[in-house]
Symmetry: C2
């Protein structure tokens, strides 16, 4: 029944040999790896606006300079990753690069940052997507949490069924988004050229505070979320067609240029047209409305923004489970995360990400702006560690032009490192502290898990232990019985089949019932001794365990008596609710009771099934 | 750890021999059995007021006539139960009387009504208690649900620890309540005698609807909740000192007179003083405030009302678990309900009642008035069935004066039966339908449970089956292994100790790993054959179960191979989260798999404990 339901939801299981490694051409690869990066304008623009508008018109005039600085940073990071793509053709994710060059601990730091980053990408993309569509349909705004969770559930389900991020269907939203936005930017540019620029001073926005360096740094700290997703191609080099590194590098450059054009273009137009949004509308929506009015064209832009943000959330569903599986394989996360599910996906990782994202969306009330301070820290921590790793890589492997390459990555590391500090300091109170607390907790968890697996492996290794048993030893058996009934006949018979030393035990909950049972018993099994135990506190388990210890001591043969448990199983699941689960209680008590002896107590279940 | 926590909360376990049967004198018995009945004015007055105020001043003038009718009904029911007390000195609960005289099915109907009644008594008493105290402190009103649940939790905890409803501490609230209310009524009467009565026409309340027969019946239907709890003494006759029936009967008469005086007195004064409450204040609070002002005397009255209502809720915690245990002993409810817990109380019944009451309070938003329509139906159904049962009792056992006695109970049955119909019809839409739906569901549940126990007993009976095994049979054993490690050495050794026919099985999740395991294996256990099973769908359980079936078929010796499960247990509970629970999965699959053969597959757990 449960299997049937599971297959209905996620589809029939797939055999292992169906794992396919598709190789992507550049067009398809761009669609696969860029949604997270390109969709960043869905929230980064908004952050720049929200940061500067505090200083009114005087602040908003700084939008373009701010965007130029961020775009420069973007270029530096892109060039750094271009080198990573060539140095690690087998995939240079932050975790791999950092671990190889800087050691296990920085690698784990990077991994922790990345895991959090994936979670936040999913949460931020979903809530920003809802903000985009709510700008067009304000009546959706009050339901943003519910709707975000609905889309999250749909994405989770598709991924559990084995949605391939490399599928052709995923290309449509990406190229639709590019076509729509690039056309709009071109149209907007022509309008500015014809009509000349407008000025924010005309809109006369009141300034809540002066334009300080603090305010600029604050805005920069969140505007940097425009860079998120830029590292995706460096993780995915093996998926490209050969020559892999060359193709990946070219795709990375194209993607970075598109990111820059979209970010700088949209912010530039916003400033040149002096666009100001209505309440509960995104700045991107306001720009679109200013250029295209409220008609179909506007709706297409908003819908394509929401779609690419949903696809960006989906990329987390590819990245998170894969990284979790790698960490699990290295022994830092529970092993279950590397199990391939029925549909050849890391189902446990997908579910973990879905739950985490859901919790984030609900806790932050579906508000992108509240999530952003958490987001930027993890991203730039991973950037910085990865770039430092690359510097060390070049210093070690001094190939052709290593000095220039090391310097390039060094500049990247410096730029992202400084940005990380700016973000951490400016956004600490607003939420970055959560990440600062969470990352050490994750690292602690990684270590606990790793130590446990190491310790377990050590204890489970055979070493010099002789595997072979010299001669069979006789086994003693104790059978707890609840009276004389059909459910225990098989148990008694089995006990006698494997041992010559069988004792039955009846725990007397109500004084006087024992003698009644003994009379029945001796008629049936005169050769099996029945022991009746009193139980002043009405517990079955405690007197039984005491009895076992007592007779083991009496025999003093270095062995433990095995326990044969007669267990009758009702025909329907709800019927088990109608019975005291005594066999189950005894089994757990025995299974988890720790003894100093090497050999543990053996528990033998002899089930008897009722028919109705 | 868990045991320690449990004992901290509920206290150390008590031995069975400490069950005490205390015998109560009349003063103590009145305090024990009357709180539910006496506290009824905490909500019944309110219902009379809320019903009649719809017709404005013209309606409220009917308060005293209405109260007189209800008090007459009270007298009839009290006399009826007086006869029950004498006829059933061993305790004449509705279930017992109905079952004995009318048969099993009406008995169960009565039991269902009573169980619901207990639940509602607890819920109504708690919410009415909160209403009483919120009348004094209106700022508590918004928190009524949380506070009701808090008091509920406290009562549950006390009962789990084994609070005795017969304890001396319980007498204080009851006699404080009686003293406070009777004094106030006396004082109020003197005021009316001195100042003369006031009139509602002076307060000039607007009428929302005319005073119709419908409105009167509607009010009567909920005002009848004044009678709730009157049956308590008839359940508790065995707790009285001898002569039990005589003492119980006298106590019943005193209680009924007190109920009548409190109900009629408070409603009479309300009308004679033309009291009208503020919004969010109970009518009882308004009367008190009118007579005593806002000072200490007023607070004492409100506090004693809340206290006696809490004690009344507590009586459900004595009655419900006891009735549930009786029904469980008769086979109509799960057996777990008759287990005496560590503290010699029916802990499962207490928890069930607590959860049910909590759900009721939350679902109805802590609003007494919304709960009342559900309450009255169950109470009067149980009254009516019990009275009809008494009539049949007299017809069967024609003792001295049986005609008069049968007539008396007949009048009782008729009066409560008619009331039941009035309530059912008038309050159907407002909530009585819930009970009308719930009772058949409960009856259906009783029957399902009963049939299962009957069927299980039949299938478990030994009948003519020979208990003795003629000769021991050889056992075949299969051991699933996950590789060669310390965790399975004991399992292999045990398997070889009990059988000459041992096969090890390795399920190959990743193609190619099997040969590696085989090499290790053959070095250690050359004499135990290892079978390697492919698993195209990455499942361990399915190929293993198929293999078991296949070899049983091959051997064709009428037996099933036993499965020895090597199971290594981590040292700490959280560490089990880090492992695939393969042994557990295989065990459940084997345990619950149904076979047509009589003998089921035996499962042998050989645990190995890790030390850290």
């Amino acid at each position: 029944m449960w299997d049937w339901l599971k297959h209905l939801i996620t589809g029939a299981p797939l055999p292992t040999k169906q794992i396919a490694h598709k190789q992507l051409n550049k067009i398809r690869a761009l669609a696969t790896f860029s949604p997270d990066a390109l969709s960043s304008i869905g929230y980064a623009n908004q952050e720049v606006y929200l940061g500067l508008v505090a200083a009114g018109s005087i602040g908003l005039v700084q939008s373009v300079p701010m965007a130029l600085v961020i775009t420069m940073l973007m270029a530096i990071v892109a060039i750094s990753y271009y080198q990573t793509v060539h140095a690690y053709p087998s995939g240079g994710g932050s975790y791999a690069v950092t671990k190889e060059n800087l050691g296990a601990f920085p690698g784990l730091l990077s991994a922790a940052a990345l895991l959090i980053d994936y979670l936040l990408t999913a949460a931020v993309s979903l809530t920003a997507g809802l903000a985009a569509i709510s700008s067009a349909f304000p009546q959706l705004w009050p339901h943003r949490v519910g709707l975000s969770l609905l889309i999250l559930a749909a994405i989770t389900l598709l991924n559990l069924r084995g949605l391939r991020e490399t599928g052709s269907a995923m290309m449509i939203p990406v190229y639709l988004f590019l076509l729509a936005f690039l056309s709009m930017l071109a149209y907007g540019t022509s309008i500015v050229l014809i009509d000349g620029p407008a000025s924010f001073s005309a809109t006369a926005l009141p300034a809540a505070q002066p334009l300080t360096l603090f305010l600029m740094l604050h805005t920069f700290a969140t505007g940097c979320t425009a860079l998120t997703g830029i590292e995706a191609i460096s993780n995915g080099v093996p998926a490209f067609r050969p020559p892999k590194s060359k193709n990946a590098g070219q795709t990375l450059i194209v993607m970075a240029i598109l990111m820059g054009v979209l970010f700088l273009g949209s912010i530039g137009l916003t400033q040149l047209l002096a666009v100001v949004p209505n309440p509960q509308e995104t700045i991107l929506s306001a720009l679109t409305r200013r250029l295209l009015g409220n008609g179909t064209a506007y709706l297409i832009i908003q819908a394509s923004t929401m779609l690419i943000l949903a696809v960006a959330a989906n990329t987390s569903f590819a990245g998170f489970p894969r990284l979790a599986a790698i960490l699990a394989a290295d022994g830092y996360l529970p092993r279950q995360l590397k199990n391939l599910g029925d549909r050849l996906v890391f189902a446990n990782g997908i579910l973990l990400l879905a739950v985490g994202t859901g919790v984030l969306i609900v806790s932050f009330g579906g508000d992108t702006h509240a999530l952003i301070p958490l987001f930027a820290v993890g991203v730039f921590l991973a950037f910085t560690l990865s770039q430092i790793g690359m510097v060390v890589h070049w210093l070690r492997n001094r190939g052709k032009g290593w000095r220039l390459k090391a310097t390039t990555n060094g500049v990247g590391a410096l730029a992202t490192g400084v940005t990380l500090i700016v973000i951490g300091v400016n956004k600490f109170v607003e939420g970055a502290w959560i990440i600062v607390v969470l990352i050490p907790m994750l690292l602690f968890g990684f270590c606990k898990v790793y130590n446990h697996y190491q310790e377990a492996d050590k204890q489970l290794s055979l070493g010099e232990l002789p595997g072979q048993l010299t001669e069979p030893f006789p086994t003693r058996v104790v059978v707890p019985v609840a009276g004389v009934n059909r459910g225990m006949v098989d148990a008694i018979n089995y006990a006698r089949a494997i041992s010559k030393n069988v004792t039955a035990v009846y725990v007397e909950l109500e004084p006087g019932t024992g003698e009644h049972v003994r009379r029945d018993w001796e008629r049936r099994w005169p050769d099996v001794p029945l022991v009746i135990l009193p139980s002043p506190y009405r517990s079955i388990v405690a007197p039984f365990l005491e009895f076992l210890d007592r007779i083991d001591e009496q025999y003093n043969d270095g062995q433990l008596a095995a326990v044969v448990l007669p267990e009758w199983i009702p025909a329907k699941w709800w019927q088990s609710l109608l019975h005291n689960q005594t066999a189950r209680l005894i089994r757990s008590a025995l299974l988890y009771r720790r003894r100093d002896l090497g050999f543990q107590r053996v528990i033998i279940d002899v089930p008897y099934h009722l028919r109705r």
